[in-house]
Each structure stands twice: as structure tokens, then as C-alpha cells.
């Protein structure tokens, strides 16, 4: 593969899509198993605030998105431990608070011209060579971290009590997972957009569920299904001149629908 290939924006977008799907698949499985879909959404909604703050601070936008999303998750943990409001209420509160504050901050920054469409729906032209380095370097680190906390995180997902009683570092695993989720959202935003990022996490995982009888297999399948969705979505985006995020998500949903048509292994027994 020649370096010249990377000059083509479309090749860069394809590589980014596959790289993001490879990590979003396994992380998305935990999002589904832990019933945290709304949590991913809340983190994504804070992206605007993250981008604005990053511009003010003069750092990379992705860094701002990551920091704000992670901070939001920690605030949520703090509020949850008080236990007087349900988690979905807290998430709705944080999600819309961060979106509103983000829009206000941006409105003050008249000098700043944020490509709102690109931020919300993804931009196929936006992936730079540097982004590829971040996606693949960060993705490898993220997968290694996920593998390292896999057992305590899975045990905590099944039963936090069991994990703690049998001496697994469940709190640390949870923290690592939360940071990984924030990281995936931060790097995936360019390609998929803030509004649709949760779909990239949960749709491939939901598609993989019927085909897997083991958590590791499901995580791997979700990564593969996400990669196929990213590739076909990006080709669709190029062919029909549609925004990249919605095209990828639409492709993922088509794969999900197709997987529902395949009869489940046990379905034949019923009736």
C-alpha cells in the first residue's frame, strides 16, 4: 500500500471507519450489556461544548470532546451515588445541560465558525493522516486496556456484588471503561457525527447478539459488522453524496434487519 493512497480522502475515510468500528464494536457490546445506551448519547451531546472549550484552550477538538465527556461521566457517577434521582433523569439533565451550554458558548465565540453540520452528522472530508494515527494508535491502546479489564468488567456487568465479593477490581474496570467510551466518542465524532454516534456503538452489538453464544465472540462480531457497515456506508455516501454519519448508520441498520431475517438457532424448536 503506497503512501500516495493516503492522499485520497476517501481511502482515509475508509481506514478511519474500519478502525473506529473495530473498537466501537467491543465497547458497544458493554454499552448494550450494561444498558448504557443513553449514557453514550449523553456523552455525545456534550461534544459541542468539548469542541468549543478545546478551541478556547487551543488544543485538539477531540481532546476537548474526550475531556468533557469523561468529566460528564464522573459527574454522573457522583450524582448516582446520592441515589435520589433515577439514572435516566440524571442523564437527560446532563445531556441537555451540556448541549445547551455548548450552544451558548459557541454563540459567544463569534470569531469561531464551527461546521455544525459536520459536527452533528460527520464529515467524510475531515479525516486527516494525523486522525488515522490517532484512531489506530489510540484504538490499539484502547483494545489492550479493554482486554486488561475484561474479566472484572464482565463480572461487574453480570453482578457488581459478585465481582467485589470475589475480589476483582470492579471499580477500576468501570473507570477504565468509562474513559474508553469517552475516547471512542471523541475520535468517532469526525466520521459519524455527535447525533449518531450511539448507533455505531449499539447497532453492530445488537446485530451480533443473535449470532454469538459467547461474550468474546459477540464483541469480535460486533467489530466486524461495524466495519462492514462503515465500508458500505462510506461507499454509499460517496455514490449518493449523502453525509457520512447517516449513511454508515443506515448501513448498520440494514445489516441488523438482515440478521433478524436469519432464523435463530433455537427458533425452530418453538411451536
Amino acid at each position: 500500500m503506497g503512501a500516495a493512497m493516503l492522499d485520497d480522502f476517501f481511502v482515509r475515510a475508509l481506514l478511519a471507519g474500519v478502525g473506529i468500528a473495530a473498537i466501537a464494536g467491543p465497547i458497544g457490546c458493554f454499552v448494550v450489556w450494561r444498558r448504557m445506551a443513553y449514557m453514550g448519547d449523553t456523552m455525545a451531546h456534550s461534544a459541542l461544548l468539548g469542541v468549543a472549550l478545546a478551541v478556547l484552550a487551543g488544543v485538539l477538538p477531540a481532546l476537548g470532546v474526550f475531556a468533557v465527556a469523561a468529566a460528564l461521566a464522573l459527574v454522573l457517577l457522583g450524582l448516582q451515588s446520592r441515589g435520589d434521582l433515577a439514572t435516566d433523569t440524571l442523564l437527560g439533565l446532563l445531556s441537555h445541560a451540556s448541549l445547551a451550554i455548548g450552544l451558548i458558548v459557541v454563540s459567544f465565540m463569534s470569531f469561531l465558525r464551527i461546521d455544525l453540520m459536520g459536527l452533528l452528522f460527520g464529515d467524510i472530508l475531515a479525516v486527516s493522516r494525523f486522525d488515522l494515527v490517532v484512531i489506530y494508535g489510540g484504538g490499539l491502546v484502547a483494545l489492550a486496556l479493554l482486554a486488561a479489564v475484561w474479566r472484572p468488567l464482565l463480572a461487574d456487568t453480570v453482578s457488581p456484588e459478585l465481582a467485589r465479593a470475589e475480589n476483582l477490581p470492579a471499580d477500576r474496570a468501570r473507570l477504565v471503561f468509562t474513559l474508553l467510551l469517552a475516547g471512542v466518542i471523541a475520535v468517532a465524532i469526525k466520521l459519524v457525527g455527535a447525533l449518531l454516534i450511539t448507533a455505531l456503538l449499539i447497532v453492530p452489538a445488537a446485530t451480533a447478539r443473535r449470532l454469538a453464544r459467547d461474550p468474546v465472540v459477540m464483541a469480535g462480531l460486533a467489530a466486524a459488522i461495524g466495519a462492514v457497515a462503515a465500508l458500505s456506508g462510506l461507499y454509499g455516501s460517496l455514490a449518493f453524496d449523502t453525509p457520512s454519519g447517516p449513511s454508515i448508520v443506515a448501513a448498520a441498520v440494514v445489516l441488523f434487519a438482515v440478521s433478524r431475517l436469519i432464523p435463530a438457532p433455537r427458533a425452530g424448536v418453538v411451536g
Binding site: W33, R151, L154, V158, E161, L162, A165, E166
Partner: protein, 284 residues
């Protein structure tokens, strides 16, 4: 007890116990522990010690704080007051009162066994065999019946060869014959591993016969003692004959107080005081 069958940490403990004969090693020791949540005490001023080779039954009505005490001892929650001391390197096998697995998580019984630690296929099969559940090994955990799931959870906790088993109502949903089998298994496991067992039950009058110590809890420790070995007496057979010889025993309460509807401690009315001392006469 065969030393070869034990994990390295067990062997360490076994060596220690043998080197120093005398009172059995204290595995976990709680001193005046309590847990306060949202301005309410879920359990308060509970002191207890589980020794190696000992079975302690924690009984009490619903909402008495039994699970809270178990969760504190297991290290799941930190007590708001009091102190807990655990033996160094203590390994715990835990059966929580409630465990539900999300249907989106593909987890077989085999996967459940490997959830918190490495276990070889032979250890898993042997553990499942003990609860007659070997045929369930490849089943998705969510498809098991309540009784099957409870048996699998107990087998899973035992397969870890822990120093301490904490079993929160492990026979819930298991039929009477199965209950006996599980009690026999718990006793046999205690003998085989020389582990301590903390067994929680909401049955106020009947406990496992091999229980060394009974603690009756209702927010605090109401009374404690040893079960009465009356399994062979005629009245016992009349009441509990179908529950099998020598598997369960009666526990006589020695309360010097009563609780009002809100759980507050009130002195015993004089006529009830006599009845309470008669113990489990009205059981059944």
C-alpha cells in the same frame, strides 16, 4: 481433608492451622458493624466471627438486614460503623441473593463459572456433577429455571475452592428434596475444603443440622446459640419428617425483647416472654 485438592492459598492456611493446633483460624471477624443508608440503619451493632471449618447460620425475618451483613462481610459494601478483619489472602465464594443476567449478554453456564477466575473444564464438570447439573454446562444461563440457576450458582462458588463461602439464601426456589441435597453438599464441602460457611436463611426455626453457630438478626443481633439436635425425636419427625434425617435441626430463640411493627426494640410482654423461651414450638 486432602491437601492436594486445595488451591495454593488454602494449602498455606492449612499448613498454618496444622502448625498451630488450637482454636480454628478466624476467617472474617466483624466488630459492631452497621450500615446506614438514607438516614436508616439497615443493620446495626452486629458482631460475629466465622472460623475455618465452621458453619454459621444467619437467620431473621425479611428486612432484618441479613443480606446487608453478608454484603459487608463479603466486602461488597463498606460498613458505616464498626470494623471488619479478614484473614490475609482470604478468598470468598459468594452466592448473592439476587442475580439477573441481561438477555443481551450471551453467557453459558460454563462462562458463568469462569466469570471471576480461571477454572479448568474438569473442575467445572466436577462442580456441576455435585449438584446434578452437568447437562446444563452449555446452556445459556438465562434459560435455566430458578432452582437450576440456584444450584449452578452454588456449584460455581464451591468450584473456586474458597476459604469462605458466603451463601445468601442459596436454596431459594429449590424444592424440598433438592434443599436437603444442597445442605448435604454444603456440609460436605465444609469438610472437604475445611472452609468457613456463612449461610443466610429466612427460615426462623429450622437451620442446617451441621450449623455450629446460629445468629438471629433483626436489625441487630437478637440472639445467638447452637441448634438443637432433635431431628430424631418423634415430634420433629411429625413436623419435618419429609425434610430428612439429620439434614436440618431446630433453633430455639432466646429473645429478651420484641420488635414493634416499625422494627424498634420493645420489652417483651410477660406472657410472650414465656412462649419465646419455649422456642420453635410453633414452627411449621
Amino acid at each position: 481433608m486432602t491437601v492436594a485438592a486445595l488451591s495454593p492459598s488454602d494449602r498455606l492456611f492449612a499448613a498454618e492451622t496444622r502448625a498451630a493446633p488450637g482454636p480454628a483460624q478466624a476467617l472474617v471477624s466483624a466488630e459492631a458493624i452497621g450500615l446506614r443508608r438514607h438516614g436508616r440503619w439497615l443493620a446495626r451493632d452486629v458482631s460475629l466471627t466465622v472460623h475455618r471449618g465452621e458453619i454459621l447460620s444467619l437467620i431473621g425475618p425479611n428486612g432484618a438486614g441479613k443480606s446487608t451483613v453478608a454484603r459487608m462481610l463479603a466486602g461488597v459494601v463498606r460498613p458505616s460503623t464498626g470494623r471488619i478483619e479478614r484473614a490475609r489472602g482470604l478468598s470468598i465464594g459468594y452466592v448473592p441473593q439476587k442475580l439477573s443476567i441481561d438477555p443481551t449478554l450471551p453467557l453459558t453456564v460454563r462462562g458463568l463459572f469462569r466469570l471471576t477466575g480461571r477454572l479448568g473444564p474438569r473442575e467445572i464438570t466436577a462442580a456441576l456433577d455435585r449438584v446434578s447439573a452437568a447437562h446444563l454446562i452449555d446452556m445459556p444461563a438465562q434459560t435455566l429455571s430458578g432452582g437450576e440457576f440456584q444450584r449452578v450458582l452454588l456449584a460455581r462458588a464451591i468450584a473456586r475452592s474458597p476459604d469462605l463461602l458466603i451463601l445468601d439464601e442459596p436454596v431459594t426456589g429449590v424444592d424440598i428434596g433438592g434443599e436437603e441435597t444442597l445442605y448435604r453438599l454444603i456440609a460436605a464441602t465444609r469438610d472437604r475444603l475445611d472452609c468457613g460457611v456463612l449461610l443466610i436463611s429466612h427460615d426462623l426455626h429450622v437451620v442446617m443440622a451441621q450449623t455450629d453457630q446460629v445468629l438471629c438478626l433483626n436489625g441487630h443481633v437478637c440472639c445467638s446459640g447452637t441448634p438443637t439436635q432433635v431431628a430424631r425425636s418423634a415430634p420433629f419427625r411429625a413436623l419435618f419428617g419429609q425434610r430428612g434425617d439429620g439434614v436440618v435441626a431446630l433453633y430455639q430463640h432466646h429473645h429478651d425483647h420484641a420488635h414493634d411493627a416499625d422494627g424498634a426494640i420493645v420489652p417483651l410482654p410477660p406472657d410472650r416472654a414465656a412462649k419465646q423461651h419455649d422456642g420453635g414450638g410453633d414452627a411449621g
